[in-house]
Amino acid sequence: MEQFLSQLINGLQIGTIYALIALGYTMVYGIIKLINFAHGDLIMIGSYVAYLSIVHFGVPFPVAFLLAMLFCALAGVLMDRIAYRPLRHRPRLEALITAMGVSLFIEHGARNLPFIGPSFRRFPDVVGVKSYPLVSSVVVTNVQILNVVVAVVLMVILQYIIRRTKIGMAMRAVSLDLEAAKLMGIDVDRVIAVTFAIGGCLAGAAGVLMGVAYPRLSPYMGVMPGLKAFVAAVFGGIGSIPGAVVGGVLMGVVETFATAAYSQVAEGVFFVVLVAVLLFRPTGLLGEPIAEKV
């Protein structure tokens, strides 16, 4: 029983990180039907921005956190402006290939920057790790609590933005029907830019949380989590925001339990789930079944 609880806590920690990343994927997909493969690399940018600001500029941790989110929001908007906007009216395949190109560019570019470099960096220990005993031998660390709390707070803020603000309404409108929204006078380019910015913010936050929880930074650190979060977003229903959250947390928990059960093949479980979802319920858990016009 205690092991179950321990593993559940582990799963929630990584699951909330996946959820934050998956939200970015799902929002961008919902709005322009593009799977932004470069989204995972925003995680890496966020981590490094926080790392550099703490280590080189002595910035306190909360400020570094906000800086990372800001920087990634900017990076997201730039990505859209430079790489995806010119291809807005072209076939989706072109944007997809461009997304892969952007991803490779960011990864290899970062690798060659002298202050990032190809070798691993260790994220500084800004949150002194303390373990709190929960139930008998089950422990939860303050980092895990921070992780889950921050992720939940961000998701609540996101929900507020989407449901209660005008820009949120515009985002929902554009994701329903881009052309109709344009006809209604919505500045679609601006809405898309905001979506990328928010997605970038969340990815940056995820990056900092990852840096704190798993303090090893490398230029390719965003690849695997990005890929897994993408699977989680598809699992939860791509284009659906609650789907991304549910997908992310569920996949994190599933991955943890699979690793605990049989660590040798646990990583494959993600991709088995992806295949299963695509076979049996392609729109994901909470996605809307697409009615085909006959």
Binding site: E2, Q3, S6, Q7, N10, G11, Q13, I14, G117, P118, S119, F120, R122, V129, S131, P133, S137, V139, T141, V143, M210, A213, Y214, P215, R216, S218, Y220, M221, M224, E255, T256, F257, T259, A260, S263, Q264, A266, E267
Partner: protein, 378 residues
Amino acid sequence: MRRKYQNVIVPLLIVVLASSFLVGCGGKGGQEVKVGSIAPLTGPLSTYGQSHKDAVDLAVEQINEKGGLLGKQVVIVHEDSQGDPVVGVNAAQKLIEQDGVVAVVGPIPSKIGMAVAPIAEESGVPIVVTGTSPQITPGKDFVFRSCWTDDFQGVVMAKFAYEELGAATAAILYDLGNDYAKSVSEIFASTFEELGGTVVAMETHPTDATDFRAQLTNIKAASPDVFFFPDFYNDASLIGRQAVELGLEAQFLGADGWDSPELDLETLDGAYYCSHFSKEDPRAETRAFIDDFTAKFGAEPDLLAIMGYDAALVAFDAISRAGSVDGEAVREAMASTSSLPAAQGDITFDENGDPTTLPAAILQIENGSTNYVMTFQP
């Protein structure tokens, strides 16, 4: 593409591509003896690469001061494997085909050694690896090694755990994609059980994983006396940290992959690991190497340095005894290396090309430094 640019760009591309074939049309012979070196100078194992490079440079400097080899100066060509077998293979091919090296020193770690060994074998260029996985050398005539293998190391750690520490139960965690960690772990497990202990948990993780909590929770539930995680220093540091966070109480044990200035000594305080030499060893050649290295680089050598240095010594000794740069002659000389006074110990090769007489030292991490505990002889 605009019509008028097509006529310029395409021919330009052809010229650029064609010229890349002309790069480095070198060959053997000439005024120098070229030796190649492959190491992870950048990437996740960069401290290994730096140590290796520095030590090899020291060896080259020393041999050139004595007049070089075969009357010519020795020139070392360093290649970066980036810790990636694909890049390592490319590096090996470049060294052999373009630079025309007489011998290759390295690579490390074992999975790159495994990838590069067949190339050395096919091209007839002797290679002295510094990885410890036992599968690299057998059956290959041109592949040698300047250190002991995991067959020995796994046994050493298991014996240390069972006999010296009195452990009855052990748990193991290793990187699935790391040939070295896998072989040490398997040998440790089988030896520990043969001695009478029980391996209560044998967990793995994928390469580049950053979250080990699931596996560590399993291990914690099994309450082992010792926890053996022989991954490289960067993974080991992460694992140690998460284990401590989870409250895993067991004696931490590692292997030679831990040796690096970037190892997290604070988290791993109290752990033991295995090394190829001890800095307090009174043996003359070992002391000479430590002193020379410290004098030249201002820092003490780690085990990557000593293995690289010895690999270079083996190569130089073989070339000078062969009296030529012919691959087969050098190979034959290398295979008959006997009691070569290297920095780790005297090197004599067995039929696989592995040294038979090198000892292992157990080190303990205490208060931010590593202290010598004891030596195991083969």
